[in-house]
């Protein structure tokens, strides 16, 4: 038993962290609300191989695993990256037999609905759509679908309902591969939620150190400390379950779906708690639209529910253990 990442995995994470700090700032996320793209971030991730982590080397991917991908997904959550990284890199790529180079280098995007729905995020910039239908997944090009834009609490998500003719595109998965795709989506989203929780805790710690009331930093007050300590504890105990789910998916563990559900339920709860505590410790500034906190809170609310919410996943754990 050795529960740690390799030096290479940590170095890859650090490189992605640096790139996203530069290419996916809060201003980038705000721009996505207005329909702006984060082309530079997506292209940079493509150039670094992030989109093809799970693609075979023969097809130009890195031929790596969910264990190699999990820290990168966490970073994309930390940055609130307004791109379909989970849908594209985590759900779609492993379904494709030798994905085209353009799917790996950041020139195009695949998006996917979560949980057998027809609602997809990041729809307006997507080139391909995964459509779940009658126990199969089809890969459908933009030209063959109709998109009906929908509101999202997180405007950067740019939701749309997808309609595609029954025979559009090609079947890329059926049977157990459909279930596997769902597991990867839930797992990837859990990893992003862990990153979001970390981001909101960091932002709030910085704010609480600097904001002064009654002549002292508010972070010196025990009530504020305890709010943040609770969020930090929740993060501490969600993270290992997410990493363990990565391992179980990689190994094809017979209980992988239970492990994914433990990860997603715990990560959803941890991020929602972090959002709540972050807002409370910020006070009115956090409640202000101009301030960046809401970008991360709203992503958290969206992702906490996506791919099965905490209650749904706990129920699934219950069906396995009770």
């Amino acid at each position: 038993m050795r529960f740690a990442f390799t030096e290479d995995q940590v170095a890859f994470r650090d490189a992605v962290r640096d790139v996203l700090a530069k290419e996916c700032t809060p201003a980038t996320v705000r721009a996505a609300w207005a329909g702006g793209g984060s082309e530079d971030a997506w292209a940079a991730l493509g150039a670094m191989g992030v989109l093809g982590v799970l693609a075979p080397e023969a097809a130009g991917g890195l031929g790596l695993t969910a264990v190699d991908l999990v820290l990168l997904l966490e970073e994309s959550g930390f940055a609130a990256l307004p791109e379909p990284l989970v849908e594209h890199g985590c759900v779609a790529i492993p379904l494709l037999d030798g994905p085209e180079p353009e799917l790996l280098d950041g020139s195009v995007r695949v998006t996917a609905p979560f949980h057998h729905d027809t609602v997809v995020p990041y729809a307006d910039h997507a080139d391909w759509f995964l459509c779940f239908d009658a126990g199969a997944i089809r890969l459908v090009p933009r030209a063959a679908v109709e998109l009906e834009p929908l509101e999202s609490v997180d405007g950067a998500r740019r939701l749309a309902r997808v309609r595609a003719p029954d025979d559009a595109g090609a079947v890329v998965a059926d049977g157990s591969a459909v279930k596997q795709a769902f597991e990867r989506g839930a797992f990837g989203t859990a990893a992003q939620l862990v990153g979001l929780a970390r981001r909101m805790i960091e932002m709030t710690v910085e704010y609480a150190k600097g904001r002064r009331q009654f002549g002292v930093p508010i972070g010196s007050f025990q009530a504020v400390k305890h709010h943040l300590a609770d969020a930090r504890i929740a993060l501490e105990f969600a993270r290992p379950l997410v990493y363990r789910a990565a391992w179980s998916l990689t190994r094809g563990d017979a209980d992988a779906s239970t492990h994914v559900s433990m990860a997603k339920s715990t990560a959803s709860d941890a991020a929602v708690l972090a959002a709540r505590r972050a807002l409370q410790c910020h006070g009115a500034i956090g409640y202000s639209y101009e301030y960046d906190l809401h970008l991360f809170m709203k992503r958290t609310w969206a992702l906490a529910a996506a791919w099965g919410d905490a209650a749904w996943h706990r129920d699934r754990v219950g069906r396995a253990i009770l």
């Binding site: 038993m1 050795r2 529960f3 740690a4 990442f5 390799t6 264990v67 805790i201 710690v205 609480a208 150190k209 002292v216 930093p217 972070g219 010196s220 007050f221 025990q222 504020v224 400390k225 305890h226 943040l228 300590a229 609770d230 930090r232 504890i233 501490e236 105990f237 969600a238 993270r239 290992p240 379950l241 990493y243 363990r244 391992w247 179980s248 433990m262 339920s265 715990t266 209650a311 706990r314 129920d315 754990v317 219950g318 253990i321 009770l322």
Partner: protein, 379 residues
């Protein structure tokens, strides 16, 4: 990353399991009563005779040189087999790490084998009537006696777990009354049968005589029984707190076993239509798993030489509050039967309620997390 157990680890688990399943005693009375304690000592000595008492210690002191991962495996198997809480725990889990880190060779040879064999039984003398969470506020004194080559202790310790049944106490005393609070403390090792020591047991919440107050009236302690340097007791003691808060005192195996019992209780008595209770059972199970995997992550980091420092406070809050929730859920499933406590859950619940208080209250732990893990300013 490799989350499968190695062949050696699996073999170690098999060996633990076989021995424990054949030897763990059933239905021992509470170890926090005089009669119960004696029965527990028989069990502790059986563990020692089979070299299972202190698996992580060096062989020369009665252990097996087990790795931290093997120690966790032992703990999982111990509680899985229904093993009782260790009445020797405050010695083997709290004092021993400090003796290994700060003790002289002579002290190690004198203290550790008898501790492992449950011949000497150690209690922790930290809290005082006016110093609980504010441990550095202790006032029990140690006065220098150069002529006799040692120190004279006076004062009172209290809420000393199983103090009435133990033979020795490790504790902090103020050796330099003029120094700032955290300085000027010295860590002493005191036999409880020496002149001037008076021990009075008293009841805990559940009525068992699990607590004691210990009075010191000019008690002589030779220099050989000072642990670490004189006036450095705070630093020496903090090494023990991180063991106490962290994984050694309350390893995941204990909560995994409790969660498994809760699942059994649900199967036996749960109402499938009670979605809220069902969710609480599942949550307890997932939290026990989270603690297990967080511990594997932590132990791997320790094995790699990382110092975890204040992070043990994250762990302490988590397991203690998990334990309370888990027992509350069991009581809910039992309904009015909980009052009669034929199953022991009510007794366990009362014990669980001590978790957020002992080893530094969870309020103190949250301060530590905020200040030393997150970096928020001190008040």
């Amino acid at each position: 990353m490799d989350l499968s157990f190695t062949a050696d680890e699996a073999a170690f688990r098999d060996e633990c399991r076989a021995w424990l399943e054949a030897n763990v005693p059933r239905g021992l009375p509470s170890g926090d009563t005089r009669e119960g304690f004696a029965r527990h000592l028989e069990w502790e000595r059986a563990l020692f005779d089979a070299r299972w008492a202190v698996v992580s210690w060096p062989e020369e002191h009665g252990g097996r040189d087990a790795s931290p991962m093997e120690w966790l495996i032992f703990e999982e198997e111990y509680y899985r087999a229904g093993g009782p809480q260790r009445v020797t725990q405050n010695g083997i889990f709290l004092l021993a790490p400090t003796v290994f880190a700060f003790g002289t060779r002579e002290q190690q040879d004198r203290i550790l084998p008898r501790m492992a064999a449950a011949e000497d039984l150690w209690c922790q003398g930290w809290s005082e009537p006016d110093a609980g969470s504010d441990l550095a506020g202790i006032t029990s004194r140690a006065a220098r006696d150069d002529g006799a080559g040692g120190w004279r202790l006076s004062g009172q310790k209290t809420w000393t777990t199983r103090g009435a049944f133990c033979t020795h106490l490790f504790g902090l005393f103020r050796s330099d009354p003029d120094a700032e609070r955290h300085r000027g403390l010295t860590y002493f090792l005191v036999p409880l049968d020496v002149p001037g020591v008076t021990v009075r047991g008293f009841g805990r919440l559940d009525g068992d005589e699990g607590f004691a107050e210990v009075f010191f009236d000019d008690v002589f302690v030779p220099d050989a029984d000072v642990l670490g340097e004189v006036h450095q007791g705070w630093r020496v003691a903090m090494a023990t707190t991180s063991s106490e808060r962290g994984l050694t005192l309350r390893s995941p195996g204990r909560f995994m076993a409790a969660a498994a019992r809760l699942v059994d209780l649900w199967r036996e008595r749960g109402d499938a239509d009670d979605a809220s209770a069902r969710d609480d059972v599942i949550r307890a199970w997932i939290d026990a798993e989270a603690y297990r995997w967080q511990t594997f992550l932590t132990v791997t980091r320790m094995t790699d030489g990382e110092d975890l420092g204040a992070e043990s406070s994250l762990t302490k809050v988590f397991w203690s509050e998990l334990d309370v929730r888990l027992h509350e859920t069991a009581l809910q499933l039992l309904g009015t039967a909980a009052e009669r406590d034929e199953s022991g859950w009510m007794k366990g619940f009362q014990f669980a309620l001590s978790g957020p208080i002992y080893a530094g209250t969870n309020e103190i732990q949250r301060n530590v997390i905020a200040e030393r893990v997150l970096g928020l300013p001190r008040a």
